[in-house]
Subunit: 428 residues, 2 copies
């Protein structure tokens, strides 16, 4: 008897009809002979409504109380789902994050999971019930306060529970029916990926693919949890994300055993480029600059240091970071200008990042050539480059990003025939 | 430094403006040199909205999940109130029922409080914070499930906390500015009562006065908690409900020391009258009938057994019970008709109950005479009578109830000059 963890986002439980549809699906999964644990997000827009209320009563943020407030959202959706499951003929019990044993640190709003002790969940499914767990929330270890996990929190709750319960699979239900070789809104011919390794999925997520949050994939990879990303609006198989790529063969019987060289193309418009101009070309200056930016809690992604202009004794250092962190980073740099001794800071939000991901590129030396040739043929200028073993990323100007994504996607024969189905909304 | 527990109902925190108004009041109370614990209900209509959602996903009731669902309401209001208090310049922490140590039995939807262990609340106020506690909810002792306390739950939470913390007073904020000598909607000349004993308040509540729930007054009386019932919309002194009537003198300096004979007139339209006709006039039959009704979980209020008609060997037994319990009680009686051997059951919802309450009637023998004379002069026919040491109640036809209330109110010189202020809405 398999143990399946199913996670449904806010758009899947946005209204009574959605909740009933999810209940039907959960009950069918159980009726097929599985033990089922469900992780659920807050209903549709309810989080925004709570944030709006908070904004009406307070101009500053109070992280502890914000977590208390927001955690009410899952409480509502999970209790309603339990009722709908009873109505659909099975029995279910809902559990808050703390009841489910999601122990976190005390960083309100973006707490990290420290331990998972799901003994109440185990008792519930062992006696034949469906256990429903509030996603996105936990309880702090020392102060016993309610915490929320921040972005990707509900997916991470599901994966963490799947790991702690040693589940056979963690199904992530979402608006689209799987992971695509590129964003179907940019590349209409993008194909659904049937299986992908956790490693590649990690690079996809880190490179801007929105479908799974980096954090959840990291957790799944670390604890060896197989993910199945699929749509709550259809019965189609979605995309399997497998910690051990050898599992691919077991799952995808009848498909070619050879892994494709390239998994997909990801893109990201959420970053900005900062160029620190005229940095004294002496040892320690780069470290000084990145220390300042890190002190402003900015996450640097790509870095390029230009060759020092002959004889000037100065160089330029460019890096990218999330647009939302741009203001803080610039302010910190400005404060330190005299200390560092640079000349000026340039800032550009009109950039886009394109990444090609594939475990197969390790053993296929021709990938880089084909990649840069495709961009060049499409007339796309490259601003910055970074690579990992299984990824090549470039920064281009924002207005050429879509063209670049389509050109690379076609060059690697990723285009398919079917047009992807994209459903509305996103969960948290 | 006094410790004050303040309870605000749903209508006081119905929207952002209400929450900010309550926050201001709470902060002012603290600034006046008090330690403050606040108990808050769910916002305005939010409970009805949650019930509506539950009705959309399920046709049957699931008490455990219903409690999980409804408890989200206070979580929202209390977190928002904490934020608003921060905004108003003080600091506050909100606590769920379980965090506040409200331990209950496991009867979902109408749990009883078993123990109160408010150590987190104590820590919070000891360090100078305002502690905000979710009304209406607790955690079951054995199963650690979320429970709700049912009707009057938030008031009872406040009183229970006040008792456990040995608070100086428990202030119950409501829509009206105190307890009146009669319902001002029926008797416009009703006067606000400045102080009343818990004993009398208990009779008022049991007799249909809606302002305080019986359960909360019982709790306050048992644990000696002084209540102050007042309006959240004004700064006026409200009504003090005192466990020890001698405290009256301390609190109401400058007022006459002598207690009035009569505190007020209460009325109730929520009961129905059941008459079991032709009951065999042999010992044990009344017990049999009331056993059947109790088995249907009906709460019998007044009982009248008619004198056996000479020679028939049969008698009639009438009693009143809440209209909402009428159907179950009648069904249970019908099932047992052959066993009991009665002839028929009559059922009448068109009745009203009027009660005159006053500790002074113990030592004033003329009260009954004046009471029945007033009713008779007003042309009101009396159907049933019951009395306690400090109360006389009668059942009349529903259409004469208002006339009866006004007649009795006037006869005991309770009419005042000021017209009562009644604000909209009711809390839970």
């Amino acid at each position: 008897m398999a143990l399946i963890v199913q996670k449904f986002g806010g758009s899947s439980v946005a209204d009574a009809e959605g909740i009933k549809r999810v209940a039907k699906r959960v009950v069918e999964t159980q009726a097929a002979g599985n033990r089922v644990v469900v992780v659920v997000s807050a209903m549709g827009d309810s989080t925004d409504e709570l944030l709006d209320l908070a904004g009406q009563v307070s101009s500053s943020s109070n992280p502890r109380e914000m977590d208390m407030l927001l955690s009410a959202g899952e409480r509502i959706s999970m209790a309603l789902l339990a009722m709908a499951i009873h109505e659909a003929g099975s029995s279910a019990q809902s559990f808050t994050g703390s009841q489910a044993g999601m122990i976190t640190d005390a960083i309100h709003g973006k707490a990290r999971i420290i331990a998972v002790s799901p003994h109440r969940i185990k008792t519930s499914i062992d006696k034949g019930d469906i256990a429903i767990v509030a996603g996105f929330q936990g309880m702090s270890q020392d102060s016993n306060d309610i915490t929320t996990l921040g972005r990707g929190g509900s997916d991470t709750t599901a994966v963490a529970l799947a790991a702690a319960l040693n589940a056979d699979v963690c199904e992530i239900y979402t608006d689209v029916d799987g992971v695509y070789t590129a964003d179907p809104r940019v590349v209409p011919a993008a194909r659904k990926i049937s299986t992908i390794s956790s490693e590649e999925m990690l690079e996809m997520a880190a490179s801007g693919a929105k479908i799974l949050h980096l954090r959840c994939v990291e957790y799944a990879r670390r604890f060896g949890v197989p993910l199945h990303v699929r749509s709550s609006f259809s019965q189609l198989e979605g995309t399997w994300v497998l910690p051990n790529p050898d599992d691919t063969i077991k799952i995808q019987e009848g498909e070619p055993l050879e892994q494709p060289i390239i998994s997909g193309v990801a893109h990201d418009r959420s970053e900005a480029k900062v160029t620190v101009v005229g940095v004294p070309d002496i040892p320690g200056k780069a470290a000084e600059i990145f220390g300042i930016v890190a002190g402003a809690h900015s996450n640097i992604d790509m870095i390029v240091q230009n060759v020092s202009t002959h004889g000037s004794g100065r160089t330029d250092i460019s890096f990218t970071l999330p647009i939302v962190e741009g203001a803080d980073a610039r302010a910190a740099l400005k404060t330190a200008q005299a200390d560092v001794g640079y000349e000026s800071v340039e800032y550009d939000e009109q950039i886009g990042k394109l990444s090609l991901i594939g475990a197969g590129m390790r053993s296929n030396p021709g990938v880089s050539y084909k990649f840069f040739k495709a961009l060049s043929d499409a007339g796309v200028n490259i601003d910055m480059i970074s690579t990992s073993e299984i990824r090549i990323s470039v920064v281009t100007s924002a207005d050429l990003l879509d063209t670049a994504v389509r050109a690379v996607h076609a060059a690697f024969d990723l285009d398919g025939e079917a047009v992807a189905t994209v459903y509305a909304g996103t969960g948290r």
